[in-house]
């Protein structure tokens, strides 16, 4: 049974997917439906800036300490978050899957080399690395994506490698060799389709993970200052000391981040069952 059938049956993972898809749509359409420019300082009829106003009919989620509309910030932030999420996830899975496929299939020296590299990457602690990298380079969104994806491919690499190790021994792969297929053909045409469920799940979980990681980086002040993001909203809210006062500023981005994290866990639940056929009901 393939991934789609599975998701249809398991309500938890379905909910996770729905949440991610919702935020995906928000990311795409967000800036188009945002009522205000997120950088614009909103003023009242007398021209006074609307600092930290509570939610009302003109500003559904209120304004921040500079008078910027929170709802618009949220919607624009969704797009940043989406870009970071998908780009990171794609890079992570691309590197990880290829490492895993080649190491698992070829074995021997190629496996050793690839896995030693993976081991080295495993030994690098995540947060300090991010901090150092972003501190050395300009804080820009591309570097954030780079920082996130340079380390995270290590886990999919290992897991996919072990899957591929098992797959390579199976008779249908031997049959592919006897049909005359070249090694690369076997890896990408015969083995890769069999790890797709795992790859898709790593993609989904990494999107969600990257989003929360980006929020963390931005909260630490290492994010791109020129882009709106949920983490940056939290960062500012904290820095100006409004965290105890402006619930309308704190909660929306916080809840969005939480929802996305919950989505990870819901999908990971499915991840285990798809990856381990014995857990599936045959």
């Amino acid at each position: 049974m393939n991934a789609i059938d599975f998701l249809r049956k398991d309500k938890f993972s379905l909910a996770g997917v729905v949440i991610l898809v919702f935020f995906g749509c928000l990311g795409l359409a967000g800036p188009l439906i945002a009522p205000y420019d997120p950088w614009y300082v909103n003023r009242d009829k007398e021209g006074n800036p609307l600092f930290l106003t509570t939610p009302d009919s003109t500003h559904l989620l209120g304004t921040d300490n500079m008078g910027r509309d929170i709802l618009s910030e949220l919607l624009h932030g969704a797009r940043t978050v989406l870009i970071v999420g998908f780009l990171t996830a794609f890079i992570v899975v691309f590197i990880g899957a290829n490492f895993g496929l080649l190491a698992g299939y070829y074995g021997g020296r190629i496996d050793s080399i690839l896995m030693r590299i993976t081991d080295v990457v495993y030994s690098i602690p995540f947060t300090p690395f991010i901090i150092v990298l972003v501190a050395l380079l300009r804080p820009s969104i591309l570097y954030v994506v780079l920082a996130l994806s340079l380390l995270m491919w290590r886990a999919p690499a290992r897991v996919i490698r072990s899957q591929v190790l098992g797959l390579s021994k199976r008779p249908f792969i031997k049959a592919a060799k006897v049909s005359g297929a070249s090694d690369l053909r076997i890896v990408y045409l015969h083995i890769a389709p069999n790890i797709m469920p795992l790859v898709l799940l790593y993609l989904a979980t990494n999107v969600a993970w990257a989003i929360t990681a980006e929020a963390g980086i931005s909260f630490l002040g290492l994010g791109d200052p020129g882009l709106v993001s949920w983490g940056r909203m939290l960062h500012l809210c904290y820095m100006v000391g409004a965290i105890r006062v402006a619930w309308w500023w704190l909660w929306p981005p916080g809840i969005c981040i939480i929802l996305v994290t919950v989505a990870i866990y819901l999908i990971s639940h499915a991840f285990e069952e798809i990856a381990n056929p014995r857990l599936r009901k045959r």
């Binding site: 031997k174 049959a175 592919a176 060799k177 006897v178 049909s179 005359g180 297929a181 069999n194 797709m196």
Partner: protein, 330 residues
């Protein structure tokens, strides 16, 4: 290419796997223990012949089949197909080899890629070897499916393996093996995991390949009954060596080696009115790391004597093209 040259000639083939045991390999780095899966095997197969390779678990028969098909490389010895040394073929020339030689595997539930439809599975060898148009490929797939009994082909081309029964899957695997018109097929226990009523049809199918297309088959099995049905000649393997070889009918009627006698006598008979005479054998097959010195069968042999413990008997030729590896073969 000589006409009277055997199609396949296996000469003194050995396939040994090195096994290293943890700490001891650090202390004595040069001491490897080997699993001697195939230990000096010689066998010929002529054009249009079905030869049976019989053995129980640990006999090395599957390993031998894989070496012949170049899934593994020999440790020493040669495999000659039409006079060409198979293990010397370079990787880029290997594709050509696979147009002549194919393999059928044992487990029908593992032999097909679960992500490929029947059409996808059968397209692969065609795409790899030939430059045919889509319609030509489809035609070839259809006619091959008909040959293996999956008729009408339209009912099966778009099915995934999990939508088919074990027998149907094995037929697709056989179709994959014959779609390139090979001259030689290695069949590794193709029926042992199938239901009894399907087994017969697969065996008849293999028989028809030999009769109608002149395909030669190396038929590997532990089941002497299927071997006796299909094969004109057979070889009995035990712990990596051939102990007896000859014409199927004669070996079954008049086995010489004690192991062959024991094997034949152990087969239950589906007729309640016939009593069989059991030749008793002691103990179990030793594991591949502890092959007995001397004749490898001596610990279980009722006729074993001093010479059997010391010297390993070579394959001697008796009359009627029978070869036996036993000190008391005469």
């Amino acid at each position: 290419m000589h006409q009277d040259q055997p199609l396949l000639a296996i000469k003194n083939l050995k396939k040994w796997y090195a096994v290293r045991f943890g700490l001891s390999s650090l202390l004595r780095p040069s001491e490897h223990t080997y699993i001697r899966a195939v230990d000096d095997v010689s066998l010929d197969l002529n054009r249009g012949e079905i030869v049976g390779l019989v053995g129980e678990s640990g006999s090395g028969k599957t390993t031998l089949g894989e070496v012949v098909v170049r899934l593994q490389r020999p440790t020493s010895g040669m495999v000659l197909l039409n006079g060409t040394d198979v293990s010397a073929i370079r990787k880029d020339r290997l594709r050509r080899y696979y147009r002549d030689v194919q393999m059928i595997f044992q487990d029908p539930y593992e032999t097909l890629n679960p992500r490929f439809t029947t059409a996808g599975t059968l397209d692969e060898p065609l795409k790899i070897h030939f430059n045919l148009s889509d319609t030509d490929r489809r035609e070839r797939i259809d006619s091959t499916l008909r040959v293996v009994g999956l008729d009408p082909p339209d009912m099966f081309v778009d099915k995934y393996p999990h939508e088919m029964s074990g027998g149907q899957r094995q037929r697709v695997a056989i179709a994959r093996a014959i779609i390139l018109n090979p001259s030689f097929i290695v069949a590794d226990e193709p029926t042992s995991m199938l239901d009894v009523s399907i087994r017969a049809s697969i065996l008849n199918l293999l028989k028809s390949f030999k009769q109608n297309y002149g395909v030669s088959i190396l038929y590997i099995s532990h089941d002497l009954s299927t071997v006796s049905y299909l094969c004109s000649r057979l070889a009995v393997m035990y712990l990596g060596k051939i102990l007896e070889a000859g014409s199927t009918d004669k070996v079954l009627q008049d086995p010489v080696h004690p192991y062959t006698k024991a094997l034949i006598s152990a087969i239950p008979i589906a007729d309640p009115n016939v009593k069989r005479e059991r030749v008793s054998v002691k103990g179990d097959i030793p594991d591949a790391l502890h092959i007995p010195l001397g004749c490898r069968f001596w610990p279980r042999c009722s006729k074993a004597e001093e010479v059997c413990r010391k010297e390993e008997p070579g394959l001697e030729e008796l009359q009627d093209a029978r070869t036996v590896a036993c000190h008391f073969a005469v």
